[in-house]
Structures are given as structure tokens and as C-alpha cells.
Amino acid sequence: MSSSDKETTIVAFCCIYCAYAAADLAGSMRLQYPSNVRIIRTPCTGRLEVEYFLRAFENGADGVLVAGCEEGSCHFKEGNLIAKRRVNYARKLLAESGLEAERLKMVNVSAAGARLFTGHVREMAETVQRLGPSPLNRAKTRVQQEIKP
């Protein structure tokens, strides 16, 4: 099995006030976007700890998106700016540990930005495709293990 056969997974942490609503709107609008994204709702991107991003990669995520409100319009004033700082820090940690920093990305989407949101997911899916699955990705073996008796 070549590494490119592996199923990839993107974890998207979405702020309930913007990106989560945008993802919901994308559904209402029936926009097509990569199906390997798994959305985790957060009250604000400012809630997210660096540990969560690292945990996702440790478990085998191939890409992590942190989607918060547009800068200046955070529901909690500055949660998204704090998240940006943490994401930038986590990217350094990723690079130091040998993973590509591009696998982790902070994006800003408004609640009406359904197309923008799906665009960001698509972009991350392309990044993951270009970089190949993460060395920590166990997804394909997981599926096979489940099939075997």
C-alpha cells in the first residue's frame, strides 16, 4: 500500500458564531466540498488550547483548520486574535517536530461566508493532498482492522 492510498482526515475547529454557522449555511446552500473534514464546534476559537491541535495531529489528523470570526468582529471581542497567536505558536511546534506547518491553519470566516468556508476546506484538502498523509496517519489501517475478524 503506497502512502498516497491512505484516507486523509481534516479536523476543523469552528467557532459557533461564524464558521460553524457558515458550514451550516454551506449545507443549506448544498455547496459541495471535501467530505473528509470533521467539524468540532467551539464557543470561540479563543477556547482552543494548543494541546488540542497537537492532540489531533498525534492521533493522526492530516490537517487542522481553525476557523474563527473575521478579525475585528469576534463575538468575544478578541478571541480570534488570541487563537491566531496560539495557532502560530503550534505551527512552530509542528515544524520543530518535523511536521509541515501548513497542516495547521487559522482562517477567518463570517457567518454568511459559506463559500469562503468551503473554499478554505478545499484549500486545506489540496494542501494535504500535496503534502501526502501525515506520518502519524493511521486511518487506513484502522478501516482494515475493523474489517478483519
Binding site: 461564524c18 449545507g27 443549506s28 459541495q32 488540542y52 492521533n59 454568511a112
Partner: protein, 467 residues
């Protein structure tokens, strides 16, 4: 969203469900604190929508602040004269203005601007700027009814030839009686500056408006030639009847394609030439009156209002509701509602229905003396607190304080539940209720759990929600 790959979509749904179940195992019952609701409404915008909403609330016994930017009530309806159903609009508008003005529960702020909005559902503080002075009013719910504006255009010799007018101007002239059709033709052009790159949406009302004015001309002078150049006629719902009536009355509808719009020239009087996919040759119409249907523009102030209220507007500048179908007249931010043209272009009857719906939703807030919120707040495990003061520095609301024991404590009424402190606390002493660290981590673990690993045993929810 993934209609092309149903198996993958099911897999996604299954995994999302697994993650939610993993999180649900760790949820614990929360009890919130209650706070008093200021049982007063505030409506931004004194047009038909705003007045309808204000009257609906006032009629239920709530005090309502009605804030209008201009010094006159009525909004865009003041420009309109009659409806498609041949009803006079002016007496209706005058009636609703009179009713609002005489209502003891409505407090008017005419010529006032909203300059700041603070607080939250049940306890908003709205700053107003009126007659050169600042003031502040309190309210429990806000209805946004800021309206819209007719789009301006310079196309089709608009502004260069007096014979080129807009549908609104035509309507006003028809009502005043100084529009004499007769002899020559009237040509109406639809979708002017609409449904293009600059303004991609359909303004919804212009087709009906043309049909309305075309019928009026035909009624005044059945021999007048009325041509409507259109892309698609959208006289939706029961309005279709009037489109049929217009065709029966002899109004000629000519379709044009967006890449070949009609041409208006003024060499020997106004001449409109149009190439229709329905005719083999271009058609030339001599006329002395070209009427443009220019569509609806979002109010220029929307961006500023949206920023103050922290509610979204779309790329076209209209406000966006929380959910198209499930929460159509409210914003995701609790306690703020919307109606009228501020939301999207629509007919007056639709605006009135929406205004009543918004008032009805707002009254679900205002009818309560107390609201219970604040269950989703941060909590400090004081045995872990190292008194570093980080939480007091990062909180945007000043909710954490240090108590007499030198331990952090969070004032629930001030906490908005963002979780910034919980993520920042170096001692992991703070948890945000309902969004605890272990819940996030378990979701991430469950997503990537292989089939062979053992399931975790069920847990009994802890009372505090703190790890």
C-alpha cells in the same frame, strides 16, 4: 454537501455522531443564574416594517423605543403610491404613522443615530446621538429594520435624457396625473444594474412593479403602447395573475439576454433597440419615455449597524438571519431580531408579515421578567489556582477577580462563556462549562480510535464539571 459521494458522507455522519457521543458521556447538568430582563423593546428604523414591529410590541403592553435616522416616519413607503392590487398606499402609511404616534407605549427618537450597543439579551444599553447630544436607553430586545434604498444608475442615458425615468418616478407621475402616455410608446427595461456582477441578486419587487405601472398606463389610455424588456418575469405567487392581465391588456413583453442588453439612443427622439432571442431580427421602438427598473440597494449604514450589534451582513450588504428556515427573523446573537428590507428586497406585505414575526419572537424575550443564562460560564478549581492573574488579564469582560484567599474567582453574571481564560490558564485550573478540555480531547480521540481499541467505560458525570 457531499451528494456525489454518499458512502463518504455516511462515514462523515457516523464519525461526527461518534464524536458527539464521546462528548455527551462527559456532559454534566448545569444550573444557570437568572437575571432581570428590561421589558422594553428597541426598534431601529421607522419605516413600515419598523413601525409595524413597534406597534406589535406596544400593543402587547411593552414599552418600545423607535429610533429613526431621518426626522420623518414612513421610510421608503412614502415614495410609493399604490400596490399591484390597486390599493392606495399613502392612506395606509398615514394611518400606521398616526397609530404609532398616538400609541402611549412608543417612545420616539426621530433624527437619532445609534452610536453604540453594549450589553446582552435582556439588558442592552443603546447609545443614541440626537440633536447634538448623546443619550443612552436600556432595552431587553432589539429589532433591526433599517430598510434599503432604490439603486441608482447611469445606464441607458439615465441623467442625460429627461425621458429616461425610474419606475418610482413613473409611479409618482401616474398618481399625480401629469403623465400623459398617448400617441407614443412607453418602454420599460428590467434588471437594470441587477443580476450582474456588481449586484448579483434579484431585487424581487421590480417585475411586479413594472406590471403594476404597465397596467395603470393601459387603464389610463388603452391605446398606449407599453413594452417591457425583461430577462425573466418573476411575478411570483398570486402576482402571476397581474402578469396575465397585463398581457391580456396588450402590454408587450420582449425577452433579452444579459449579454445583449437593449440600446437606448437619442438621435431623433428616444429609440430603444433590442435583440431578442425570440425574434430573428432586432426590434426598434420609438418612444418618449424609457422607464428603468433599477432594483434595491442595501442601506449604506448596514455595515456600521452590523459592527455595533456584532451581527452578520452578506456580500450584498443585507443582514443575514440565524437560519434560513429555523430562525428566519432573528440573529445568531440572542435578543436581536430583523425584518423588512434590511434583510432582503421584498414586497410590503411580506415586510409587514416579517415585522410581525420579528415582534412576536422579540416578545418571547420581553415577556419574561427573568432570564436564565450563564450556565455556560467558566469555573475555577481554586485548589489548582496559582494566583498568576493571567485570567484577569486575558478576559475581555473583566469576569475573573482574585478573592480574599488570593485565588481566582469568576463572576458568572459577567462571564460570556468564550473560554479564553480556560485555554490560557497555565495551571489548567479553569474550565468552561459545557466545553471542557476533556470533552474536546475525547472527541479527538474518538475520531481517530481504531476498531480494536477498547471502548472507554461509561463515566458518571461529575458535578462541578472541573477536571
Amino acid at each position: 454537501m457531499h451528494s456525489a459521494e454518499p458512502e463518504k458522507a455516511t462515514e462523515k455522519a457516523t464519525e461526527l455522531m461518534k464524536m458527539s457521543v464521546a462528548r455527551a458521556r462527559l456532559l454534566s447538568p448545569l444550573t444557570g443564574t437568572s437575571f432581570a430582563v428590561d421589558q422594553t423593546g428597541l426598534v431601529i428604523g421607522g419605516g413600515v416594517s419598523g413601525m409595524t414591529a413597534a406597534l406589535a410590541l406596544a400593543g402587547q403592553g411593552f414599552k418600545v423605543h423607535l429610533v429613526e435616522k431621518s426626522d420623518r416616519l414612513g421610510g421608503r413607503a412614502l415614495d410609493l403610491r399604490y400596490t399591484l392590487e390597486h390599493e392606495d398606499i399613502s392612506p395606509f402609511v398615514a394611518g400606521i404613522v398616526k397609530e404609532a404616534e398616538e400609541h402611549p407605549n412608543i417612545i420616539f427618537h426621530l433624527g437619532a443615530d445609534v452610536t453604540n450597543v453594549a450589553g446582552f439579551i435582556g439588558q442592552f444599553k443603546v447609545s443614541l446621538f440626537q440633536d447634538g447630544t448623546d443619550s443612552e436607553v436600556s432595552c431587553g430586545a432589539i429589532i433591526v429594520a433599517t430598510g434599503a434604498a432604490p439603486a441608482a444608475t447611469g445606464e441607458y442615458l439615465r441623467g442625460k435624457d429627461q425621458g429616461v425615468i425610474t419606475q418610482l418616478e413613473l409611479e409618482q407621475r401616474l398618481q399625480k396625473g401629469d403623465f400623459a402616455p398617448g400617441r407614443r410608446n412607453v418602454v420599460m427595461i428590467q434588471c437594470v444594474g441587477s443580476r450582474n456582477e456588481e449586484r448579483p441578486y434579484c431585487s424581487r419587487i421590480c417585475c411586479s412593479m413594472s406590471v403594476k405601472n404597465a397596467l395603470k398606463i393601459k387603464k389610463l389610455d388603452p391605446s398606449a403602447g407599453v413594452y417591457v424588456l425583461y430577462r425573466d418575469i418573476r411575478t411570483y405567487g398570486f402576482r402571476e395573475k397581474y402578469y396575465k392581465q397585463a398581457r391580456e391588456a396588450g402590454v408587450i413583453f420582449i425577452r433579452y439576454e444579459p449579454d445583449a442588453p437593449p440600446l437606448v439612443s437619442q438621435d431623433n427622439g428616444l429609440v430603444v433597440s433590442v435583440k431578442s432571442p425570440d425574434f430573428p431580427e432586432p426590434v426598434e421602438i420609438e418612444t418618449d419615455c424609457v422607464v428603468l427598473s433599477t432594483g434595491v440597494d442595501a442601506a449604506g449604514d448596514n455595515r456600521r449597524v452590523a459592527d455595533m450589534l456584532k451581527v452578520p451582513i452578506n456580500a450584498d450588504g443585507f443582514f443575514v438571519e440565524a437560519h434560513l428556515k429555523l430562525r428566519p427573523v432573528e440573529f445568531a446573537t440572542e435578543g436581536i431580531f430583523l425584518c423588512g428590507l434590511a434583510h432582503s428586497p421584498k414586497h410590503m406585505d411580506e415586510n409587514i408579515s416579517q415585522a410581525r414575526a420579528a415582534a412576536s419572537r422579540a416578545s418571547t424575550v420581553l415577556s419574561k421578567a427573568y432570564l436564565e443564562v450563564g450556565a455556560q460560564v467558566s469555573q475555577v478549581d481554586q485548589s489548582k489556582c496559582i494566583s498568576c492573574m493571567t485570567c484577569t488579564k486575558v478576559c475581555p469582560y473583566g469576569a475573573p477577580t482574585v478573592n480574599a484567599d488570593h485565588k481566582a474567582e469568576i463572576i458568572a453574571a459577567k462571564c460570556m462563556g468564550c473560554g479564553i481564560c480556560a485555554a490560557e490558564c497555565p495551571a489548567c485550573a479553569i474550565q468552561l462549562n459545557h466545553f471542557e478540555s476533556r470533552q474536546f480531547k475525547d472527541m479527538l480521540d474518538e475520531l481517530f480510535r481504531s476498531g480494536k481499541e477498547e471502548r472507554r467505560p461509561a463515566v458518571v458525570p461529575e458535578k462541578s464539571g472541573v477536571l
